[in-house]
Symmetry: C2
Subunit: 172 residues, 2 copies
DNA sequence: TGTACATCAGTGAACGCGCGTTCACTGATGTAC
DNA sequence: TGTACATCAGTGAACGCGCGTTCACTGATGTAC
């Protein structure tokens, strides 16, 4: 028997659902992610989504998981600390609500300690420790996160500061 | 005529509404702040609140404003950079959802550029620049925010790190 | 090639829920003469 | 001290809304003989 190379329909649908959910996320945060609205957008009835996600929470959790994976994938090609730092900031700026989903309390009732999520979160850190020791890695992570999240919220722009120069200062 | 020393009833009610709203905020973020539920908690009808707040948005905005003021008041007694940094972290850890209200995208449709809010936000920064020059102040702010917000979300605890020692490293 | 059956994606109706907000109102309190 | 009036905090009913989720079902597709 050959392995089936065609993507299964279930995966396609799941991907479509997530795509729309991501758009809602970018427009209004986790609170804006609504199953009924997603179904409407996809031209399908509300209950249809329950074939693919147990419930709303499962969908949101899947978004978190994907975001961790996507972030790690974006950091993977880094060759040194500089390129890592640059990639980290750029990923965050390109999709702010996704970044917030990882690092701000995303929604009421969210449990960030699910093993699969913890493992997914670890991957980025593992890439960073290729370039610096572990203690320094956590420090840099804190600093980068501080800068990036303030920049995302527009705190530097409103002060007339150059974010790029500041970023170097902060992690430096 | 004597000045009226008694607090006006309107202020008392507004304070009570905010008190309940804060409790909701701590328990489930801005999405959990609901006028009807607040009214119920206060033993009053829903529409009654509209005497004191134009609408839900106005209430949330008032919470943000108060939080900025309260933070500045907590930082005010600082005598040097060390005590400032300590006060900043402690304020945030004591009321995480309030801290998030200031530094994460709080709710869909929120406008952080209202002049009164911008002014309130500035006050903390003005205290910090008593101890360091302005460039360093922004850097320190970024670093402190990075550490504090990761600590709030439990990212260090789950890694078995000592947050206090780490904080010194990060802002150092 | 045809028939009988099982699988299963998706439907439509319905549920209860709580929300924000408007509305016309009641009833108590304060003010003016 | 009493009466007429204005103010205004709070009420109760009602609105439309969209949500998450369950349910019994239809109808197409795939499988076995």
């Amino acid at each position: 028997m050959l392995e089936t190379l065609t993507t299964e329909r279930g995966d396609q649908v799941r991907a479509a659902v997530k795509r729309v959910a991501l758009a809602q996320l970018e427009s209004g945060g986790p609170a804006a992610v609504a199953l009924n609205a997603i179904a409407r957008e996809l031209g399908v009835s509300g209950p249809a989504l329950y074939r693919y996600f147990k419930n709303r929470d499962a969908l949101l959790t899947a978004l978190v998981f994907d975001a961790y994976e996507d972030l790690a994938a974006a950091l993977e090609p880094s060759t040194d600390l500089e390129s890592f730092a640059r990639a980290y900031r750029e990923w965050a700026l390109a999709q702010p609500h996704r970044y917030r989903l990882l690092y701000s309390a995303p929604w009421p009732g969210y449990d960030p300690h699910q093993p699969s999520l913890v493992a997914a979160a670890k991957r980025s850190m593992e890439i960073l420790v290729r370039f610096v020791d572990e203690e320094r890695a956590v420090t840099l992570w804190s600093r980068a996160h501080g800068h990036v999240s303030l920049e995302i919220e527009g705190n530097f722009a409103s002060m007339g500061l150059d974010p790029e120069a500041l970023y170097a200062q902060v992690i430096g």
